[in-house]
């Protein structure tokens, strides 16, 4: 429980974590915690949980709109490309058709629409989630990749005091267990990220890569816990 860093800088991030064993308990806890007016930063789970986005009150994703936009772009690019190649740059008579014969273009238009939409969506997804090389992942609790569900609450974004939030979490069904030495562990803890840990920069990564080549420093994940 006492995992607090003593030398916290101004820009450090302070989170309070609630750790849960069971997804149904988690879903109820999310509703409970939000009902008390606590803003949840994010919930980390080992596998997707049905209804979690709904419980967290997330807005609908804008990915479908991105897909439509990129698809429309691909559509126009394919029409422009084929018209310019087949109609302007190097006109050829094929099967007696006119140079710009739209039915012939449709398979390529279709393929380009799908390709642009797919790549555009992958790119949008990576960009909106800041997933780029050497992004420093902030792992709140390693057990969230194994068998625990972790709810993270950003203390700076909440008006309630840490003690209040802690007591709300304690009554929300967090996991409890007693270890071999008879010490009771309760699944509420604080997790701080130092200024250094919060920064991940693609530019720094590239500079490091150019200067030093592939080393353990730009390959390893920073996962101190």
């Amino acid at each position: 429980m006492s995992n607090q860093h003593q030398h916290a800088a101004e820009t450090d991030k302070h989170y309070l974590l609630g750790i849960y064993n069971d997804e149904d308990v988690l879903l109820e806890a999310v509703e409970h915690v939000r009902g008390k007016g606590v803003k949840i930063y994010e919930v980390f789970t080992p596998y997707p949980i049905h209804g979690l986005e709904h419980a967290l009150g997330y807005d609908r994703s804008f990915m479908p709109r991105a897909a439509f936009g990129f698809g429309a772009l691909g559509n126009l690019c394919a029409i422009a490309m084929q018209s310019l190649i087949m109609g302007v740059d190097w006109p050829m008579i094929i099967g007696g058709k006119s140079f710009i014969a739209i039915p012939n273009f449709i398979p390529v238009i279709f393929e380009c629409t799908v390709l642009f939409a797919a790549f555009g969506m992958v790119g949008t997804f990576l960009a909106t989630n800041s997933l780029y090389p050497h992004k420093v992942p902030r792992i709140f609790d390693r057990r969230s990749t194994d068998d625990k569900h972790v709810m993270a609450i950003d203390l700076a974004k909440n008006t309630l005091s840490e003690a209040d939030i802690r007591s709300i979490l304690l009554e929300s069904g967090v996991e409890r267990h007693t270890d071999a030495n008879g010490v009771e562990h309760v699944g509420v803890k604080q997790r701080n990220f130092t200024d250094e840990e919060n920064k991940g920069s693609f530019i720094r990564y590239l500079a490091d890569l150019i200067a030093n080549g592939v080393t353990s420093s730009n390959r390893a994940l920073k996962t101190s816990n």
Binding site: G51, A55, P64, F68, G95, G96, K97, P103, N104, P107
Partner: protein, 448 residues
């Protein structure tokens, strides 16, 4: 998010009230009025076709084929196209279309069972009621064929196969092994017979599940139906393709397309899905099927949306290959349609109704969840696929003597009203929710 277990009235029954009957009869009377007006117009305006032998001098004939000495397919012995022919062709268009729509009811249930889909379990009565129209449509098909095969199917003319006749047609004679009356009738009887037999067997299982469920074996009917459905799907795949060749493609006897079976299936399938969705929406609007929520509508909307694109894919694949290869034996089909001032517009109306409209109308998630939009798109799709069959059948049978007018609309409305009547009548027979379906709970609690 805890899903609250809701309780629905599992014994609710559809009341085929006089108000519903009145609506259906209004459509029927409207159809009759249109048909009569159309018929009078046809008879009055039909003078130009009398005695006009060999009027079918369309571009197609010049291109029809170059191999045979006997000339073109339609040359010399074309029958005068009168209003009687047009009446027969209209009955053929609608019989083929409505046989397909009602058959899709059975196919829809079959794929739900084979996939062991839970979400649709509560909606099963609707396709169940739809396939009840199959025997009626099949009888219409058989009667229309018996009365008018000579006007619809060019290949039934025996002189085409006679080497000494001036009408001898080498290409059609070469197809005699497949396109001969005994084999053709046998095939058609087998398709219709097996389809109807399957619907009866399926209904028997449904009734057993509803009224005579053995509590010690509550899943018995379900697994029987899964097995039956798997067999039916295999037969369905084969038979709908062949039925499309026989009932529709053989009208343009010289011409053939390897996409045709799929193309017809896709048209029937989308039309059937739209019918199912529309019926669900109407029932929901009338206060029935309380358990149906946006998730069910969304799934039905996805079906209509996805398979509209599938239909377009098939339609375009057929068109593109013919257009690109530019072989006169193949292009004749599209020349008959696209170079005709009577039919060219239907190619484009067809694409607007069956592709543009469902594609943009149902693209977003919200649209698939709104009953008003679903209703609009489904009606457009049902009309659109009727037009699809219209432009498959009419140009090949009536050539430039065909047309589109009050009569076509009238006959379609009469068929549609009868279809609606049979659906409503059968919906009222059993409780609306098949409460003993083993997956019913999944359907009642379907959310996403």
């Amino acid at each position: 998010m805890a899903h609250h277990a809701e309780h629905f009235d599992l014994d609710e029954k559809f009341d085929f009230s006089s108000a519903v009957k009145k609506k259906i009869f209004t459509i029927l009377i409207l159809g009759l009025v249109f048909a009569v007006i159309g018929l009078i117009m046809l008879i009055m305006g039909g003078n130009d076709s009398h005695g006009a032998h060999g009027l079918n001098g369309m571009a197609s004939d010049a291109l029809a084929y170059s191999g045979g000495a006997a000339g073109t397919e339609h040359g010399g012995h074309a029958h005068a196209v009168t209003w009687v022919t047009r009446v027969k062709v209209n009955f053929w268009i609608n019989s083929v279309y409505f046989v397909g729509l009602s058959l899709i009811g059975a196919f829809f249930i079959a794929i739900q069972y084979v996939a062991m889909a839970g979400w649709s379990a509560g909606l099963r009565r609707i396709p169940e009621a739809i396939f009840k129209f199959l025997p009626f449509a099949a009888v219409m098909l058989v009667i229309t064929f018996a009365v008018s095969y000579h006007d619809i199917f060019h290949w039934t003319d025996s002189s085409l196969y006679d080497k000494n006749s001036p009408n001898f047609d080498a290409i059609i004679a070469g197809k005699a092994g497949f396109l001969n009356m005994p084999f053709y009738i046998t095939r058609s009887v087998i398709y219709l017979g097996v389809w109807i037999l399957f619907t009866f067997l399926m209904q028997k299982q449904f009734n057993k599940e509803e009224y005579n469920l053995d509590p010690s074996k509550p899943n018995k009917q379900f697994f029987t139906l899964v097995k039956m459905s798997a067999g039916f799907i295999v037969f369905f795949g084969l038979s709908t393709s062949m039925a499309a060749w026989d009932w529709v493609m053989s009208i343009d006897t010289h011409w053939f397309s390897t996409m045709f079976g799929w193309y017809n299936f896709a048209s029937w399938w989308v039309g059937g899905l739209a019918t199912i969705t529309l019926t669900v929406v109407y029932l929901k609007e009338a206060g029935y099927l309380k358990f149906v929520n946006e998730a069910h509508l969304h799934d039905l909307g996805k079906f209509v949306f996805g398979f509209s694109i599938f239909w377009t894919y098939i339609w375009f694949s057929q068109f593109l290959l013919i257009y690109y290869a530019n072989i006169s034996e193949e292009t004749v089909y599209f020349i008959d349609r696209l170079s005709s001032d009577k039919y060219a517009k239907f190619i484009f109306i067809n694409l607007i109704f069956n592709f543009i409209f469902p594609f943009f109308g149902l693209m977003t998630r919200d649209a698939k969840r709104k009953m008003r939009i679903l209703k609009l798109v489904c009606i457009a799709v049902i009309i659109g696929h009727w037009l699809d069959f219209y432009q498959m059948i009419m140009p090949g049978t009536l050539k430039d003597q065909g047309g589109f007018g009050f009569f076509e609309i009238g006959i379609f409305l009469i068929f549609a009203a009868s279809f609606a009547y049979v659906i409503a009548m059968n919906l009222a027979k059993l409780p609306l929710i098949p409460k003993n379906h083993p997956l019913i709970k999944e359907s009642l609690n379907h959310h996403h």
